[in-house]
Amino acid sequence: MNAREILDAWLSQRLEAPALEWLRAQGARLEGGAPESAFHLAFGQVPRRLGAAARAPLNAAHEGWDLRDWTVEQAARAFLLLSLPDTPESVRAVLALHQTADLGEHVALVRALFLLPFAEGVLHVAREAIRSNMGDVFRAISQRNPYPAKYFDDIAWNQMVAKCVFTDVPLRTIQGLDARANVALARMLLDLAQERKAAGRPLAVEAWRCVVPFLGEGAASDREGEALVFLADLLAHGGSGARAAALALQNAPTPAGRLLLRAAAPELLPSLEAGTLTWENYDV
């Protein structure tokens, strides 16, 4: 089954017959090359056509997709997007939708970007979502969305991760966090740690996950000492901060980092070695 068929199957179990019939009719029109106005109208009308079912959680799973934040309405809107033919006209229609999208449309569009056959052609939508000050939109791109890891360059990726740290949006729910980590990001986050220290404000401890692996490399190589001071402080204060520091130091590329971990947090070593302490549960 392709993505459109998968969504159709889920929606057929969650929508009342008239709503499903309406949605499928709209999808068929779009597949047949309906004018752009038909797409805008159908996309905008999804909440009112779906009724109460629209806002319910989707509660569906598929390999490679993390749909935990999705609602039925967003799945229905993704279905409409996937009904657009893979043509330059469809790219233009999606960019036009982005220009006038209301908040709900905007979130649905951003969540569904990764499913589109012309995903790369609508990079602009994803890049703008990183710049958005609307939390819903920023989270839609940064959280549980495979699009950034696949299509962002390092500038966009690093801005996204740094903005998560800035705004207390979790990092663990960013897809591809470790795979896309890079030395420039590590340097940015280390600078941020120093700025926060100067301001007397804490830094989200997850940030160290993206810093420690690069402490022996490039722009971060001569700053290991700086980083270890922060990490030693976290370890000394115990709790979730210490567990996060230990998880980060587990991947330390140099002897000094590994030594700090063994010396300052011996009690955490067994759970680290057993793999029972993870970035998923360090703060529980």
């Binding site: 109208l41 905008g44 220009q99 209301d102 449309e105 000050n133 609307m134 705004t167 207390d168």
Partner: protein
């Protein structure tokens, strides 16, 4: 329900794009749970359709989000205002944009439309938009003129009838003692804008509701970029209660009537603000996580709906 329970209010006419976050906080504290922001002019005349496009989008996007930060549900109306309808070439382009917005979530009426100077160009745009309202089954919000108000009000109603629009689907706004009897007698909804010194004061509003009763009466602030009061609805309600207007009447004029008429759009339901948790599960998830981060320090803001990104 005890009579001491604080009333909830809807301000069904307010231009929040021109207001500050202090206003939002004050409104929430005063009991305003929902607002309707009519598309209107923005002071500076617009010269291109693109600025209308971005303005309409901001009513559905950024402003809706901003209101949500303060626990206030934000709805809007879409339309070309009468003043700018006089730029005829531009008006044509803007009228062509409206179908792209009119069907979106939370659009509760076509408005605010009607007359300003009562010119042929205004008449043309007004009639075109009445047809749009008829096609989409949406209520209509009518702005009545400052100058030549009585004639403009009567004419607005005549034209609605001529286009076959049911008076029960139309709110006539900015009424005063001189216009309200005809509006009510003809079956239209009759809204009053409480403006310091110009349109209508709270004291006069109390007298009007005592005289005419609460049926189809709506109180709003029309607060914008000029001297105006975003707390006009709760303040007027308080004065009504102090001066012996029955609580049920106050609730009709300052909450229920607006919900009744604009709810006919199918886009505005009491459940939208009575049970935020059911509105959008992802919002609660996000709110909780902000709460955990603890960076949003303002206790006046409902933590469950706060997702402001501090830069």
């Amino acid at each position: 329900m005890s009579d001491n329970t604080p009333l909830r209010y809807i301000d069904p006419h307010i231009h929040m794009v021109s207001r500050t976050t202090d206003d939002y906080q004050g409104m929430r504290e005063a009991g305003v749970v929902a607002v309707i922001e009519p598309a209107f002019w923005v002071g500076q005349p617009r010269t291109t359709a693109g600025t209308f496009l971005d303005y309409f989008s901001s009513l559905l996007g950024w402003e809706r989000f901003r209101a949500s930060q303060f626990g206030i549900r934000h709805y809007c109306t879409m339309g070309l205002n009468s003043k700018e309808a006089n730029n005829e070439a531009l008006a044509e382009e803007v009228l062509d944009l409206l179908p792209r917005f009119i069907g979106k979530e939370g659009v509760v009426a076509v408005g605010e439309i009607g007359y300003d100077e009562i010119t042929p160009a205004e008449d043309k745009a007004f009639r075109a938009q009445l047809e749009l309202a008829k096609e989409t089954g949406l209520p209509v919000m009518i702005h009545t003129p400052h100058r030549d108000k009585k004639r403009g009000t009567t004419l607005s109603m005549d034209v609605c009838i001529e286009h076959g629009i049911d008076p029960s689907m139309v709110v006539i706004d900015h009424n005063n003692e001189e216009t309200c009897k005809e509006v009510l007698d003809r079956g239209f909804w009759c809204a009053f804008t409480i403006y310091p010194t110009t349109k209508m004061g709270s004291e006069r509003m109390v007298k009007l509701i005592k005289q005419y009763g609460p049926e189809r009466i709506i109180v709003d602030s029309s607060a914008d970029w000029g001297i105006s009061d975003p707390l006009a609805v709760p303040k007027t309600a308080k004065l009504m209660l102090e001066q012996g207007v029955p609580r049920e009447h106050v609730e009709l004029a300052c909450y229920r009537n607006a919900l009744a008429i604009y709810g006919k759009s199918g886009q505005m339901n009491e459940a939208d603000w009575l049970d935020v948790a059911q509105v959008d599960n992802s919002k609660v998830f996000e709110g909780n996580s902000i709460l955990r981060g603890g960076t949003l320090g303002d206790p006046r803001v409902n933590p469950l709906v706060s997702k402001l990104i501090p830069n």
